[in-house]
Structures are given as C-alpha cells and as structure tokens.
Symmetry: C2
Subunit: 241 residues, 2 copies
C-alpha cells in the first residue's frame, strides 16, 4: 500500500460543501467566580450524566447557530444568575477527542466575575452551588482542568488590571479590597503598601462614608473610579486626544 496522504475537502478550496462535512458540537463553559465570606468561590452545578454521577460541573451549553461565543456565555450567565452586566473573558478552547462521553464536543472556556449578593433569587435551583475554589478536587469532564486554567488566567489578569471591582459591592473598605486580592492570589499582602499602591493609581474615590457595625474603628468606604480607569486604558494605547 502506498503511503499517500488522505485528501479531504479543504475549507478554502472550491467545491466545498459545508453541510456534507462532519459534525463537531460547539459549546461554551463558564467559570463564574464570586467572593463571599472572604473566600473566592465558583458556581457549579450537579452533573446529571451517569458517567459523572454526583460530580460537579461548570455551567455550560451548546452554542446556538445564531449566536456567537460571547453571546452564548452571556446567555448562560443571564439564565443562571440573572445578571447581564458582568465581566467576561475568553480563556482557552478545549478540544480533546474524549472529553465528552456523548460524542465530539469542543468547548470554549470563559471566566466571569459576579457579585454573589446580586443574584440570590436565582439560586433557588438547588442543583446550583457556590464552592470555595481551593476546596475543589474532582469535577466532571475535564472541568477541573478548565477551572484551573481560568483561575490562573484570572490571577494573572488582576495583577495587570483592576477587574476585581466586579466581585464586590459598589462601596467597600480597603480591608475588604485587600482581603479580596489575598483570597484570589493566595498570599498575604502588606497593609500599608497595598493602600499606598492603590491610592497612587487614583482609581479610588472617597465616599466620605464609614463602615457600620464593626467592633473596631470603622474604615472609610470607597468607590471604584471607573471613568478614570477607562481614560487610563485609552492613554495606555495612546488614543486620548
């Protein structure tokens, strides 16, 4: 037998008929991060496939023909959390042959940052649950790998851009903000240096309000200076006139 390469229709070649080509299912999976009780958490759902009985999986769904990948992710978030103004970032596409027991499914992974407090109502579905990120070991499919990949990417990202504000209330104390960074990065930060560094960015607006009901000196509450952040981003790319 002669060792000849199999010739298949090329997508950019003439005579290519999309409908007669094979099928691979396309899905998205969302790693939805939340922050609660000073712990970083992720929203998971009980998997109902017999192959993964009693295991947890990410929230995902097939991509519909009339929606792009981002839209599919936003749809899932909206359906599951009721939120629609969330931070969303694409991370990686997972395409191993055997990653789904029902057939060939490739899945594009996104992570998003939401405020846990803002969607309590939708949590009625008792198959949904917030899990501390650091306590998750096994998951259905390759979802542990997806979770780890997204978590690492998110850790990287918060070192570059202040996306964490999506996880907390509009008004927050510096202590809360620092707790958040420490929970995400998994390390302790110096309180004074943290404060100094953040003020230098100019991204914090003093609300002139104070914490309430704390058993110690109350801290000031701040808001995120979003417009300044947008300006800074523009300047960084040199488009500000």
């Amino acid at each position: 037998m002669i060792n000849q390469p199999i010739v298949k229709p090329h997508i950019y070649g003439p005579g290519f008929d999309m409908d007669n080509y094979f099928k691979i299912a396309v899905s998205v999976d969302c790693v939805i991060f939340g922050f609660d009780d000073n712990v970083l958490k992720v929203l998971l759902i009980k998997c109902n496939l017999p192959e993964f009985e009693n295991q947890w999986s990410l929230l995902g769904d097939l991509v519909r023909p009339e929606e792009d990948l981002d839209s599919a992710s936003y749809r899932i978030l909206k359906e599951r959390t009721g939120l629609d103004d969330v931070y969303l970032e694409q991370v990686h596409t997972f395409g191993s042959l055997d990653r789904h027991p029902k057939g060939r499914v490739i899945s594009t992974a996104f992570y998003s940052l939401v405020n846990i407090r803002h969607h309590q109502l939708k949590l009625s579905d008792n198959e949904l649950h917030w899990h501390p990120v650091n306590e998750i070991s096994e998951m259905a499919f390759d979802h542990k790998l997806i979770l780890d990949t997204c978590y690492e990417r998110m850790q990287q990202k918060i070192r570059e851009e202040p996306i964490v504000f999506n996880l907390i209330e509009k008004k927050f104390s510096l202590r809360e903000l620092q707790n958040l960074y420490e929970a995400i990065l998994g390390l302790k930060l110096d309180r004074r240096n943290f404060r100094k560094k953040f003020f230098l960015t100019g991204l914090l607006l003093d609300t002139h309000e104070l914490e309430k009901d704390v058993p110690h000196r109350p801290g000031r509450l701040y808001r995120f200076n979003k417009s300044k952040y947008i300006k800074l981003k523009k300047n960084y790319f040199g488009i500000d006139f």
Copy 2:
C-alpha cells in the same frame, strides 16, 4: 404573547441527542512566524474564494473528527512547511456569525515559531509567501484580527519565556539574538543591558566559535541551553527533587 425563554435541549440534560443538533464547522488557523533578513515575517496563502479575491489568508483547515485542535494545527504545519518539531501555542477562538461567507465556522487560532531556513523545499507552492508582519494591512476573513491578536500574545510571551530560539539557527551571535528581539518587539534595546540580562539567565552556552565572513570583528556564537531552561521551568513550579 408571554415572554418566556426558549427551551432548547441542554447538553448535559437527559435525552440529548448529539446527532440531531445543529452543525457548526470547527477549524484552526495558524499564524506561522519566521525571522528573515532581520524582519519578522508570517506565512500566508492566497485566498481563492471569490469574496476575497487576491487577498491573503492564514493557513488553516477544518478540524477532522478524529483529531484534536493541537493535532490539526500540527498537521497544517507539517503539510505546509514540512516541519514537525515546532513551537505552537493556542491563543483565541473566533466565532463571529459572519466571519466566513460559506457558513458558520468557528476557528481556533494558534501561532507557531519556525526557522524559515529549514523548510525552503516545501515553499514550491507559489501561492505561499512570507510577508513582513508590519507591512500587512488587509487580509481575507477576520484574519487580520487573528494575526494581530496572535502577534500581541507572542510579544507578551517572549517577555516571559525565551521561545525565540525556535526562530533562529542553533548557533547565533548575540547581535542576531538582539536583532530578533528588536524586530519582534518593535523597539531598540541597549546592547550592554541586553547582553547582561541574557547572560544572567544562564541560558546561553558559549560554543567557542566565531562568526565568519563579517566585515568587522566577529562575535562569539552561542547555543541555547535547553536543558537548563527545562530545569528552571520545573523549579519555578517547585517540582524539582
């Protein structure tokens, strides 16, 4: 009419039949970088769709049912350049509804780094051509966007890891190495600091050979200390015993 959400079969739900679901074609596109004549180049092919007549496109193909995404990229590289030990990194998946005129195609973009000199033979296909990255304006499909995305990611990556050695000969002078970094990053570097920084990494092995046929004092030739690099990576993750 009641505003009720459309219920579609859920991929993880019971009774889901993969075959009866819709079809989205899955492809990969490769941004193949090379370095020649002190210029960063990318390998493109003439697009033969009437919609993009005379425009250039990336090398890509549909993903076959029996191969994963990485394998598809390697296959394309092998087919087009004859190389099979190349650096390859997945970057992003592009899924806009209208990105392909023939139908719904989502495409996962990879970039790879190859040595232009090592595959001259396969370039016989005169539809293939190396283009200086900085001289490309228009491309077929959304390929300019894909190229830009991959280029930015690659620029980021070489600031963190010495993947550039995939682009040059085994033996090289420091000047060549610096030219490469300057071409990729698009800026001038200080010769002395560049030299200092690289020697500190310990990733350069002196071959005790010299450049030849240069009209000035010849520089020393070095090799990349790959085993040391692998060790460093392991140590970084704390797995070295």
